[in-house]
Every structure is written in structure tokens, then in C-alpha cells.
């Protein structure tokens, strides 16, 4: 573009500037109410919560369109859902996107929570943000629970019936309140109508109120600092509009495209309608995000002691998470300084993965006490041991030496790969340890059969793979001999080549 071009276009540019100015005066876009964000937060990990809200918006759009056609009565629920599938323009697409985005919302909220846990955002002064966030997590699970019933299929009604009876086993006061909220006077049509109203009005309203509270607190405190500190360049503030908004739109667009592609690759078909005869042939199983609760309840110790005991355990886990900021009162935030809580966090994720997978493959089967103790205890010990080992290797030698400046990108890349590999190993490790122990116990109890032996062999092979992967990872991390870290350290921090660590 030359100077001549500019004079030729300057008339339209003036008009453009005036148009922008018109909006700016009225919307205050150049001087927004929301505080600017630091450069280091332009990173997907900081926006997991925002992506969960994006998922919620997608749910709202698809849900409201479907709401025009769905009828919440037991006789018409299934046929109206079928109608949406077959006759409404883009109906099948709406249903599929709605389901997968629901799963994405739950998964994103969980990742958001665990990410916050691991970088210690819940320390002072953000404790109440954590509590609000946990409540929002419960509401999200409530969305899943209430929405699951609405199509009135064999799968969903059976699972929800079990869920409702489990709620009835809570302590009397709470059980009565929740039962009244959910079931009302009793009977299928009241329950369905209640679930529907909860799903489309009460839960969204509660979620929005909690979201407003969380956003308010976010504005008060700002984005939390990265654990390792940040350089001046990274602390530079970026205005919310248009830069941070544009970044959010970018992430949201990629998320939307991802959901669309997943909906294409895994199209849904409606399970058969709920009839009592069909339900009798079917073993109920909850949706995947409740499989871990399901698995805990199936342990025989809880079967004999009664449902309230099992529920107390699950409730205790939830309560611990809610009041976590008041349990973990230390001031330290760096990974190096929190070995206990980091290990506990990793164990929690590993156990969750193992329980979910285990629940998936053993529908309706009671788990013996020994098996449960061995599998869950085994995973806990293995993962805690592994984490402590890695933590020691990583930080014992480094704690005194690592400066507080921001690491360079090649170190960052190495760390990113290491983190990904570690997460994968934890998940796979939990599953393979669990299945190995499970197969062992099964052989011990039921004797050696071909099926048992095969299961043991496969899981041991998987476990071997995980162990090899862990050894490789530890080798990479060992500062004395690991190639990537050592090279980066030499280059970045100017360490002496001959220095032994």
C-alpha cells in the first residue's frame, strides 16, 4: 500500500473510524469494565473454565431449539425425541451435539478443577472461588443426571430409577428434601416433569448466579500468577476487548469445530423406548461420569453395611473437595513444595479413572472386599510411590538451583511433553494395575481358566508397557543423565558442562 492509496481511501477510513467511534461511545469497548489480563494467561489452560461456559452456551442453544419439540410426558417423551431425530431439520445433529457437549462440559469442568488444584489457585485469597466452583460442578452433574432421563429410553430410565433410590438412602432430612424436589408427589409423570423443569430452568438459573459470583470474584482478584513466576514481558496486560475476547472466540470456535467433528464421527442412534418388560432384561448402568460412584457402591462391604454407609463415603469425598482450601492451608504453591497434596491429587485422578473403567466393564457385579482393597489400594500405593519418586528426582536437586524466571520455550516444550506423558501414564497405569490385580484375585478365587489367564496376560503386558514408559520418562527427567533436560539446562541456565548434579 502506498501513500496514494491511503489518500484515496481516507474518506472511507474516516467513515469507518466514526462507525467504530459510535459503538465505542455507547458500549465503552475501549475502556471496558473488566480488568485487563496478563500475557501469560493467553494459554488454553487458563481458559478451561471459559470453555466449560462455552459448552454451556452450546447446550443452551441446542437445548432451546429442541425444547420447541420435546414433550415431557411419559407417553410422549420418547416419541417426541424420536420426532426430533427423524423429522426436525438438523434434529439428529442437535441431539448428538447436545449429548457430546454435555460430556465435554463435565470433562472440561473436571479438568478446570484439577488444573486449579495442581497450580494451587485455591489458596488465599481465592478460597471462596473454589467453593463456588465446586458448587457449579455439582450443578453440572445435576444437569447430566436430569437430562439423561428426558428421552425416556430403557437405558436412561433404568439408570435414573437406580439413581433416585440411591438418593432416597441419604440421611433422612436431606433425602426428603431432595426426593421432594426431584420426585414430587411420586409417579412417573410428576418425576419427568420435575426433572424437565430442573433441567431447563432451576439448574441453569443456579448455574448463572454462581457464575456471576465467580466472575465477580475473578474481577476482584485477577488471574492467578503462574506457579514459577513470570517475566516482565509475560506480565504485560492485555485489554479484555478486543484481544482477550478474540482469544476466547478462537478457543470457542476450535471447541465448536471439535464437537461438530466428533458428532460426525460418532453418530447417535436412539436406544429403544422404556418398557418395564424390556427394562427387566437390562442391567442398569449410570452414565460414565457416575460410574465411579456406582463402582464404590458395588463393593461388597458397602452392600452388606448398607447404602447409607457407601453414600457417606462418597459424600465425604465431595465434602473434602469443597472445603479443600481450608484443609490445605500452606502458603506454598510450587509443585516442589507440595509433595503431599500433589501426590494426593494424582492418586485421586488415577483412582477415578480406574473406578470409572472398572464400573464400565463389570455391570451389576458385586466386587469382593479383597479385590477392592487390592485394586484400589494397589493403585494408590503404586501411584503415590511413583509420584514421590518423580517428585524427588525432579525437585530434590533442582529446588535450590532453579531461578524464578520464566523458563525458555524449549524447556517449556520438554515440560509439556513430560506432563502429557505423565498424565497418560497415570491413566493407563491406573487401568492396567487395576485390571492386573483384578485378574489375579479372580484367578485366586475362581481358579485358573483360559479367560482368566488371558486377562491376566493382557493386563500384565499393558502394565509392562506402562512401567517401561515410566522408566523412560524418569530417564528423561533425570537431571544427571537425561538428554533433553540436560541439554536445555546447559544452554539456558549456563550450567557448567562438567557439573555433576
Amino acid at each position: 500500500m502506498t501513500a496514494q492509496d491511503d489518500t484515496r481511501h481516507s474518506g472511507s477510513r474516516d467513515r469507518l473510524a466514526r462507525l467504530v467511534q459510535w459503538f465505542d461511545t455507547r458500549l465503552g469497548l475501549s475502556n471496558p469494565v473488566f480488568r485487563p489480563v496478563p500475557q501469560y494467561s493467553i494459554n488454553p489452560f487458563y481458559w478451561l473454565g471459559a470453555l466449560a461456559v462455552t459448552a454451556f452456551v452450546i447446550q443452551g442453544i441446542t437445548g432451546i431449539i429442541m425444547m420447541l419439540y420435546y414433550v415431557p410426558s411419559p407417553t410422549q417423551a420418547y416419541s417426541s425425541t424420536q420426532y426430533i431425530f427423524n423429522s426436525v431439520p438438523y434434529g439428529r445433529f442437535l441431539e448428538t451435539v447436545h449429548l457430546y457437549t454435555a460430556y465435554a462440559m463435565i470433562m472440561l469442568s473436571f479438568m478446570h478443577m484439577m488444573r486449579g488444584y495442581f497450580v494451587s489457585v485455591q489458596k488465599k485469597p481465592r478460597e471462596l472461588m473454589w467453593v463456588t466452583g465446586m458448587l457449579m460442578g455439582f450443578v453440572t452433574l445435576g444437569f447430566g443426571f436430569t437430562g439423561y432421563l428426558l428421552p425416556w429410553t430403557v437405558v436412561s430410565k433404568s439408570a435414573t430409577d437406580v439413581g433416585i433410590s440411591i438418593i432416597g438412602a441419604l440421611p433422612p432430612g436431606l433425602a426428603n428434601f431432595l426426593s421432594f424436589l426431584i420426585v414430587g408427589a411420586g409417579g412417573d409423570s410428576t418425576t419427568l416433569l420435575r426433572f424437565y423443569d430442573l433441567h431447563i430452568i432451576l439448574l441453569p438459573a443456579v448455574l448463572l448466579v454462581l457464575l456471576a459470583a465467580k466472575m465477580y470474584m475473578l474481577e476482584t482478584h485477577g488471574i492467578s500468577e503462574p506457579v514459577r513466576g513470570a517475566s516482565e514481558k509475560k506480565r504485560k496486560l492485555i485489554p479484555i476487548f478486543p484481544d482477550a475476547t478474540v482469544y476466547l472466540l478462537e478457543l470457542a470456535a476450535l471447541f465448536g469445530a471439535g464437537m461438530l467433528i466428533i458428532s460426525l464421527l460418532f453418530p447417535l442412534s436412539l436406544p429403544p423406548q422404556f418398557t418395564p418388560e424390556l427394562a427387566a432384561t437390562y442391567t442398569p448402568q449410570p452414565d460414565w461420569y457416575f460410574l465411579w460412584v456406582y463402582q464404590i457402591i458395588k463393593i461388597s462391604a458397602f452392600e452388606t453395611a448398607g447404602l447409607p454407609v457407601a453414600l457417606s463415603v462418597v459424600t465425604l469425598i465431595f465434602v473434602i473437595f469443597v472445603i479443600l482450601p481450608f484443609i490445605d492451608r500452606g502458603e506454598k504453591r510450587r509443585f516442589a513444595d507440595r509433595p503431599l497434596f500433589i501426590s494426593l491429587g494424582v492418586v485421586f485422578v488415577a483412582e477415578l479413572i480406574a473406578l470409572t473403567y472398572w464400573g464400565l466393564v463389570t455391570p451389576g457385579q458385586i466386587i469382593s472386599n479383597e479385590q477392592a482393597a487390592l485394586v484400589l489400594g494397589g493403585i494408590a500405593i503404586a501411584v503415590v510411590g511413583g509420584t514421590y519418586l518423580m517428585h524427588d528426582l525432579l525437585y530434590r536437586r533442582v529446588r535450590s538451583k532453579l531461578p524464578m524466571g520464566s523458563p525458555s520455550t524449549s524447556l517449556r516444550t520438554a515440560q509439556a511433553w513430560t506432563c502429557t506423558a505423565f498424565v497418560l501414564l497415570v491413566g493407563l497405569g491406573a487401568i492396567t494395575i487395576g485390571t492386573s490385580l483384578d485378574a489375579t484375585v479372580r484367578i485366586a478365587l475362581a481358579g485358573l481358566t483360559l479367560g482368566n489367564f488371558e486377562a491376566l496376560l493382557v493386563s500384565l503386558l499393558g502394565l509392562g508397557g506402562v512401567v517401561l514408559g515410566t522408566i523412560f520418562l524418569l530417564y528423561r527427567l533425570d537431571l544427571g543423565t537425561g538428554s533433553i533436560k540436560r541439554r536445555v539446562r546447559l544452554f539456558e541456565l549456563g550450567w557448567d558442562k562438567d557439573e555433576t548434579l
Binding site: 500500500m1 442453544i61 431425530f85 431439520p89 438438523y90 445433529f93 525458555s408
Partner: protein, 207 residues
């Protein structure tokens, strides 16, 4: 220091004029892009057009239409659309008794021509194409093979379900009528379900 991998740094452009116009260009481009992205999303609102409300004029009964006659030659397929006017089927006289067959020798059968694997409309009848020389229908897309004597049961290839069988009727003068569809549903009509009323949705029934 090795350069950061996120963005490669260049010197800020010295020429102010060019810089501003590039900025404006990018801003306009961004806005247009956002408008089109949101517009694209907005087209989902087509769902709120007014198709027939449920239960009103949705056909729930299969039409009964004449498609052929019993005096057709053996192994010579007849093609017809049923139950929607966009969905092909084929009818063939096998010359031997088959499951679901009608006619004096119970050997006339008809099936959907849309493969249950991925919806290819390339099912062709082969009189002796089966592994034991029997009549089969083969899909040329990915090689699914359906046994004509056993209600299009899958005997080869990747199809997970048999072909939907057209229910036929014959009157006194040998005219053959199509009067319904057996499960599974025709591909794309709630694929995988056994509720054949879904076959009537989404198009114009033949008459």
C-alpha cells in the same frame, strides 16, 4: 537465547502508513470473519421452521402400491421406490423358496437397495454369487454380501445388519403390492433401530 517458538519476532514496521492500513485490513477481516462464523452457527435456527407437528400429518401407515406381477422372469430384478419416493428397492423372483417370499412358489422377495453399512446405493443382485452358488445381493462399495434366501442375512462384508425386507402382498390376478417394511430401518432412518415407523419420515411417501 533461542527465539521463542510461539511467535517469530520481526522488527516493527517502520512505515506508519502501511502499518495502520494493515491493521485496519486485519480488523475488517476479523469482523467479517466473526460475522460469517456466527452467521454459519445461526443457520442451525433452520430447525425452527415449521415442519408438521408430531402426530398431526406424519404418516404412520405404510402405503400400499403395486410394484410388479408374478409372471416376471426368474433372476430378473425389478426396481421400485418404496416407501419414500427417493429410496430404491429391488424385487426379484428367485426360482427357489425363500424366507418371506410370496407368490405361488414363495420365491419372490424384495429388499431395500441402500446398504446398511454406510448407505451406498449400489446393491446388485447376483443369481449365483453366493459361496455355495445361491442367490445373493452384493454391495459394490465395501463388499457386503446378503443372502437372498434368508431375508438378506449378512453372509460377508462389513454390514452390521441385514437389508430391510419389503413386505409384499399378492392378489388373485398375480399383481404384487408392497405394503410395509420389515426391521431394521432403512439406512438413515434412525439407523439400527427396529421401529420401522421411522422409515416413513423425512420425505414424500409414494402413492
Amino acid at each position: 537465547m533461542t527465539p521463542s517458538k510461539d511467535t517469530e519476532k520481526t522488527k516493527p514496521d517502520e512505515d506508519e502508513e502501511v502499518d495502520t492500513s494493515r491493521r485496519d485490513f486485519l480488523k475488517i477481516a476479523m469482523t467479517l470473519s466473526a460475522v460469517m462464523a456466527f452467521g454459519g452457527i445461526g443457520t442451525v435456527l433452520k430447525s425452527i421452521s415449521n415442519p408438521a407437528p408430531p402426530g398431526a400429518s406424519n404418516p404412520t401407515t405404510f402405503p400400499r402400491v403395486q410394484v410388479s406381477n408374478t409372471n416376471i422372469p426368474i433372476n430378473s430384478p425389478v426396481y421400485f421406490n418404496y416407501p419414500l419416493d427417493s429410496e430404491p428397492n429391488f424385487l426379484v423372483k428367485l426360482g427357489q423358496k425363500a424366507a418371506g417370499g410370496i407368490g405361488p412358489n414363495q420365491d419372490i422377495v424384495a429388499f431395500s437397495q441402500i446398504c446398511q453399512h454406510l448407505g451406498c446405493i449400489s446393491i446388485s443382485y447376483q443369481a449365483t454369487g453366493g459361496s455355495t452358488g445361491g442367490p445373493v445381493a452384493k454391495c459394490s462399495c465395501h463388499g457386503s454380501v446378503f443372502d437372498m434366501l434368508q431375508s438378506a442375512k449378512v453372509v460377508g462384508g462389513p454390514s452390521p445388519r441385514p437389508l430391510p425386507q419389503v413386505q409384499l402382498d399378492v392378489d388373485a390376478s398375480g399383481n404384487i403390492f408392497a405394503k410395509g417394511m420389515g426391521p431394521p430401518t432403512i439406512y438413515f432412518h434412525n439407523t439400527g433401530s427396529n421401529d420401522v415407523s421411522a422409515d416413513l419420515q423425512g420425505g414424500n411417501p409414494v402413492s
